[in-house]
Assembly symmetry: C3
Homo-oligomer: 129 residues x 3
């Protein structure tokens, strides 16, 4: 299955937990695993706190400090910082499914990491038993 989303900013962490949970349900897999995979090279997926939206802002702030916007980058498209963040955060997550529900911690949510937006993006959702 593929989940499509529209990002709104240059860099952004978007909570996609309920979208993914819905796809898990529709997959029919009761007990198994859900693999999330971002097919882009300037985006990523991560798991972090969903309760307080300021957490994702803090994560972005530090990522944007760690990976400078200006450096002697050779890639001419100008989005090298996004490629670096993609490798640091990672293109995939694996989450267990029990009783058709993602097994996550109380405070955890799934976030799509946009690092070169705004764009229309996809995330692959593969559930298996």
């Amino acid at each position: 299955m593929v989940h499509t989303l529209r990002t709104q900013s240059k860099t952004e962490l978007i909570d996609i937990t309920s979208d993914i949970q819905q796809l898990v349900k529709s997959s029919g897999v009761k007990d198994g695993y859900c693999m999330l995979y971002v097919p882009h090279t300037t985006a990523a997926v991560t798991i972090n706190e969903s309760a307080d939206p300021s957490v994702r802002e803090d994560i972005l702030m530090i990522l944007n400090q760690m990976v400078p916007w200006k450096a002697p980058y050779r890639h001419l498209e100008g989005n090298s910082p996004a490629h670096v963040k993609s490798t640091l955060v990672g293109a995939s997550e694996l989450i267990a499914i029990e009783n058709s529900r993602l097994v996550m911690g109380t405070w955890q949510g799934i976030f799509f990491g946009e690092f070169d937006g705004p764009r229309t993006r996809k995330i692959h959702v593969n559930c298996f038993a």
Copy 2:
């Protein structure tokens, strides 16, 4: 299965290789895969050198340099650096099982990454064939 552990410091990498290996054995899975999943948002799991304990101290030192303790963080709990480290290091690992043993390199160990301790923590251990 769930492995519970008590961390001792603010930031810490704790070798849990033998605990996980024991759980793999007790799972009855002879050949397959072991998924490790941290259900917390201020902790992580990573694989790195287990032979020399100074390696994990060096990793923590650089993580603590890369993610400043003081910055204009908006999250009011004061543990934003821990959230950032959790996303950088990652919430899960997947390791092959052969003959009831984790298939890892000679120098590799599994480390629970505590970034906002000390606390009582959990790591989910799912083995499948």
Copy 3:
């Protein structure tokens, strides 16, 4: 299956996409998953852009800036920066297989991350349905 490679530099991102694709084909798994696992503690695997080789140079440049070569490291082998990068980039990747082909984005390639080369290295390739 094990893929062996010879790295050429101290730090390097080597495109191994076609090697892994060939191993996936020879595994006989038509639809399933491919787990890549690096059994070393000073190397890693990542997915990023394969079209423009300058992207991987930019990623390495920033990684080498983020993790200083000189710091009060305690590990006496002198390769602590490589251990840190290994944990930041990660030891494994999971990719779906459809019709005997890795399911990846148009611009994505698989890269072996050498952080303490040159050396002879291995990457484990496990395909399952």
